[in-house]
Subunit: 346 residues, 2 copies
Amino acid sequence: MLNWTCPVPLRDQPRIVMGHGGGGALSAELVEQLFTPAFGGPAPEALTDSAALELGGAKLAFSTDSFVVRPLFFPGGSIGDLAVNGTVNDLAMSGARPAYLSCGFILEEGTGTDVVGRIAAAMGAAARAAGVEVVTGDTKVVEAGHGDGVYINTSGIGLIPPGVDLRPGRVVPGDVVLVSGAIGVHGVAIMSVREGLEFGVEILSDCAPLGGLVEAMLAVTPDLHALRDPTRGGLAASLNEIAAASGTGIVVRERAVPVPDAVTNACAVLGLDPMYVANEGKLVAFVPPAHADAVLAAMRAHPLGAEAAVIGEVTDAHPGMVVARTALGGTRVVDLPLGEQLPRIC
Amino acid sequence: MLNWTCPVPLRDQPRIVMGHGGGGALSAELVEQLFTPAFGGPAPEALTDSAALELGGAKLAFSTDSFVVRPLFFPGGSIGDLAVNGTVNDLAMSGARPAYLSCGFILEEGTGTDVVGRIAAAMGAAARAAGVEVVTGDTKVVEAGHGDGVYINTSGIGLIPPGVDLRPGRVVPGDVVLVSGAIGVHGVAIMSVREGLEFGVEILSDCAPLGGLVEAMLAVTPDLHALRDPTRGGLAASLNEIAAASGTGIVVRERAVPVPDAVTNACAVLGLDPMYVANEGKLVAFVPPAHADAVLAAMRAHPLGAEAAVIGEVTDAHPGMVVARTALGGTRVVDLPLGEQLPRIC
């Protein structure tokens, strides 16, 4: 057994709390202070979403994600759809064409085989829709009371086309910030069923594979600077990660961010800010200004980007900070969330 | 929500039982009857241990494994060592040189950060020892009572050298069967601490990375037919999988199989058969007879193969069946286990 001394007090947290899995500041601390040093110190950037690798002369993207969403089935999808699209999207955010997935199940003893079957069928359908193949798998079973029905890990490999180099470090002042559509939908869809809330309109998760949309954008120019799918922690977390990693500031025009009325209303009831609510079929893009109009047009021409919008730009005025211009003409700082407002939404 | 109808009654099991994760007949049923059809029907062979892929002109191996071992720390290792070596070994069994790992944690709320830190440190050390890099990761947290401290998924990519083509389908009658050393050690090590049993001698897990041993074997000839690391279900499960997938029979000389006295004694107390007990640092090889002596010599020259032995051969006499010649001159059928004698050993 190796000795191990906590290098910093991890915010004086001697125990794991839900927020360590929330994709916010606590998650980042765990990665930077605990995992990165243990794994021999790759750049923190390399430990996010997906890694770009050279192997046998091919330039590959490699990504992993575990899924613990509750409930397993929700309006607009299931843990199976999420598990496929989540990893497909992480690959796509590096500009890769997603190709192959692995699938690791941790099943709780006593779970219905019909539940597992419906989830596997959803995964198969999602994989076919995304144009990827599930090629290798593993199943473990844990005793009742040590799981929650079904947990799934998917990992994926994709091929990065020549000339494509998407990463936060390439984001520079002047870049235009675009989102591919309405935000906050997935988190509100989960919350509506989990808490038995009804908001008048049924809100369906936006869970979708973004590989095709990214291909359409790269067809305009391979010179996109960075892409992110704002899942845990929402758009706020993605913008803060990019600002921190690139050493730039980001200004967002709040009124330009597309938020459906149903999400606005649900968030008002729940006391949530849509900027912090998870998405599973949206991306945020950092694009050189010369290409912004053409990239926006290409996004709007794609079914998954029909509501795409320019929401802001990158600045050198406040490095590492995200600022929103409010509808009333004021400004507010959009912080990195500490944890996640709604745990286990993916 | 997709409709799903259970295609066969899965042995009339409407619910997941521990054996579905045991690497035996129940695991095979779940893969063949539920996952394979759902994922669009790749050959069942492709859904085991690791997949061989072409991507960007490179020939890659891709593998995934989740680890739910209990306890997290055991004599000779931890879940962290297992998580690295397990996936490294799955890649090595395809002849690939393991290169990159991903790492997905599912942490239970309330787990000590020191526990997570010690496990991460063990993973880092194991990765360096195996010559692989952990390049991408993910962490989720589940509420107390929905996990068991730490679950880990690792997935891995390796490069398959030109001319290497290891798979069960290449095993033919006449092939010599070798093991790299003593069997049954890992399972007995886990059992000794889990059940508070003492067997006089402390038995340490054999958890180790097999990439270097495989390289030494392939240096003799790239024409090895198949390799397997006999983890869940032990040597019996691996031999049965190869026999079934290749349509051949396998004869094992029971006295030739290296079993340490401590394992024999522990198994006698526990009512277990060492042939069915998990290993985490051993391999079984199927080698054309012309190369068997040289491969055996290369194995014995490697620290992880010092006790390597020829244990049997492949025959056309009883396709799909594994038969052991006993010390007394009789024979017995070595069945595929139904589940796992000791659940959650990896």
